[in-house]
Assembly symmetry: C3
């Protein structure tokens, strides 16, 4: 590992050895360059002629022009300022002003990248650890037979962990999200199971309700007039570090199998742009009313608006109230509902220490 990356890992407030989502596959057509900043590192993304995804540092080593202002010339990326060309491994393959092979110093840092679950993943740490099997399983939201998917994106002006906190404590749904909440008067038999589980570095926040009222989103998916009076409802959120979440959610008639009602699993992939801004990629997949464009639009809009107009302003205001201080500096009063989010924060803290320590051992 080179010295520059070692320094980065030592100083980074982020876990570097991890896969981060940098966009949906559909967002990167061939022959296009896409710029995105991840963990403070500007990247340029493009596809080779074979369709493979490449991620390079978005900075020409000559005069620091963003390569994303350049153009693709066959399989190589040409800088738009003075015309140097780079292949998908970052190697400088052409200097139009001087004959011969450009020196190694003219190469651009490359970041391991691949596609899975309809998204593009980039590894921000040590190359020899970039194991694709480390990416958790998100196949539950793949577009596939019997399931229709919608996707969305938000740019949130807050630290990514404040969004993790939000997603791992869904008790806020009844206060913030009328479209998603089961806040009609509960049946006398209503019962809630809310608890956190931890398996290794995976945290699961269980939210299960029997004899619950039906949130508007499930009334919609059940179909006109078909929803029962009360239902069993689940919204179980799985978190893996640093910030990759899967929500297993759906409604079913009381005492019936989950397949008897609609399901709407969703993924929530949080990619820090900087310490104070976050790329939030989400996708949700339904098993009802397939091919119904109106319902697809309603689901997409419902989820997007819940995030955009309800969660996002609240989380950004929380960040403003915190300024640049750490959550713990503010001495928050912890409640029972903080169980899952605090577990996730402790795991991130542990992994950050481990990543730096391992580095120290190896470079000593």
């Amino acid at each position: 590992m080179n010295t520059k990356l070692q320094t980065l890992i030592h100083n980074s407030p982020f876990i570097r050895n991890a896969w981060y989502c940098v966009g949906f596959s559909s967002g990167l057509p061939e022959n296009q360059l896409k710029a995105i900043t991840v963990l403070g590192q500007p990247l340029v993304l493009f596809r080779t002629n074979g369709g493979e995804v490449a991620a390079l540092a978005d900075r020409c080593p000559h005069r620091f022009a963003p390569l994303s202002r350049g153009s693709l010339q066959g399989n190589s990326l040409q800088c738009g300022y003075h015309g140097l060309r780079f292949d998908s491994s970052g190697r400088c393959v052409h200097n139009p002003h001087f004959p011969g092979v450009p020196p190694e110093a003219a190469n651009v840092p490359v970041f391991p990248a691949f596609e899975r679950y309809g998204a593009i993943w980039v590894w921000m740490g040590e190359h020899d650890k970039a194991d694709r099997t480390l990416l958790p399983d998100f196949s539950a939201t793949d577009e596939r037979s019997g399931w229709n998917r919608v996707e969305g994106y938000l740019h949130v002006k807050a630290n990514y962990q404040l969004i993790t906190d939000n997603l791992l404590d869904l008790s806020h749904v009844q206060f913030l999200h009328p479209f998603l909440a089961n806040d009609a008067p509960p049946s006398p038999q209503f019962k809630a199971t809310v608890r956190a589980e931890q398996r290794g570095n995976t945290v699961i926040a269980i939210n299960e309700f029997s004899h619950s009222s039906i949130p508007p989103v499930y009334r919609l998916l059940w179909g006109q007039g078909e929803a029962p009076e009360t239902c069993q409802l689940r919204a179980n959120m799985r978190w893996d570090p640093p910030s990759l979440l899967l929500l297993d959610t759906g409604a079913a008639p009381v005492n019936a199998p989950r397949e008897a009602g609609p399901s709407l699993p969703s993924v929530h992939w949080l990619t820090p742009e900087s310490q104070w801004t976050t790329h939030y990629f989400w996708a949700a997949t339904r098993d009802r009313l397939l091919g119904d464009a109106t319902v697809a639009a309603q689901v997409k809009r419902g989820i997007d608006e819940a995030f955009r107009y309800e969660d996002e302003p609240m989380i950004e205001d929380v960040q403003r109230n915190m300024g640049s201080s750490d959550l713990w500096d503010g001495q928050p009063v912890l409640l029972s509902i903080d169980n899952a989010p605090v577990r996730a924060r402790r795991i991130v803290e542990k992994l950050l220490v481990t990543e730096r320590d391992k580095l120290t051992v190896r470079t000593a």
Copy 2:
């Protein structure tokens, strides 16, 4: 007094033990939450069922959500994120996720508040010193029989003391404010009395003119064609720390009692939002052409435009020219006209030192 407040007072560039205006009474209807930042402290204001004003820190102690994004539930303020509820004394009275009485640590800081002179006043320092009689008398601008009032607000991007400087040295009126200035060619008998008086911590800037030309605003208030050729004119500004001003101003025929001409007393309440931004609340009350909505609008617009388009850009440019440095760092050349504003600055400096010293003695 708690340790946090002690630290605040020690580090504050502001006098804490003082009443600050946070808005007009008319600006806070029942069932509304209002957010305002005072001395860098975000506050949420609301009314109890009885109509009493309450001011709490605008930050939930759980996850730091602004309480002003919440809602009123009867007499208590419910956080919009996870539903904690607080009464008007800041006590956490309800945690919807856990039975029983919430712990004291979940309480929110409260700030003494009351209403007077058509405005809401908040005490930013030690509670046991929050004496309502310390508020200077501003009844001269109360809406009452024979007097009509207009109110206004500006958000000024400058330190509040630059606005005090402006108001305590009205020699700038002839250069900046045509609507307010007596800048027609003076009569041969014209005589000006400009001087500063100090009584304790009160500074009064006297500006009195005999055989003066009549400023447009008084020609307007005198009524069409009724103003005399020349007049006696007064614009006496009273200042009390930290930044509460009353302007006794009016015009009258030469050698006649002041009641023989129009009066337009006004208040100027400056509340620091931060070191570099200020809430400027003003109100002006006239004793002529009562009930004339056109005149009311002309007076309000005339004063507002003088502040907004003449004073405010000048003061903000002065702040820009000063950057973050103190007035004294810039070694200003003091003129005779600086007598009153410099007295006010010296009093503020003295009170800041006193406030910190007293604290040291008591906490030693």
Copy 3:
């Protein structure tokens, strides 16, 4: 030299003893005040009754109001806040609030200024070194018999040296500027001469091409259908410190004298506003199609758009990629094309050291 200026020179990232362009002569009519910030110093520019240009610090010594918010009263500049008046040497000549001669402390710093080459030049350093003959010769772009001139201005959010780099390495033209580039397929006899020359502190970047294709701008200037198949083309850039450039450019038939084809010499005067922003004044003068307003507009628009939409975004992005770090901190890979710009940077570095050292000797 006063202590304040000594401190400025010691701390300045800029060469102070130099002429900087602060605008075109046509941009400063009589009876107008113009504000411009140069090397971080706000200036106010105006003309005396005789038409002479004056440059004062844009800050009243009384209360720090920008003098550019004031007005001209005959030959003196009146502060718009409290009415102090200053003559073109910065002397305070009138205090309306107090009789007699104002004290010397009320004077405003003055900066030597004069007009030449259709522009206003200000000296930002020691007055006794303000030698007008130090200004390089830019008469090649004067408006005169047989030559027509167009002028332009850009505010660039980048350090001025990044713009120097751009201008001294015109190899970027073929990648960035279709209107200016000779990028049609070259003739077999095409020959390029690209090299840098240095004479004292003057750097010249030679770019000469024979049997070249004709850039669109010269096809335009040659006149409809009159341009030959191939041409000899020159674009020789002369640089003098800190950042004053003259481009000798034109096209001619192969083996013919330069007068046989159109010339379009241009000046490029870069004036740092701050470390991260630059005033870019340019002018270009043609010897063909004189008096043709359409061609004048096309030339002005062609050059302006090349700078505004092609160079400027690229240079600003380079600055963003560099943050506040120095070029050398980023360890750029230098290419042959960097010869001229690196020479210019080395000269600036040398002059900065010399300016500080001389000062040390004299003040010791």
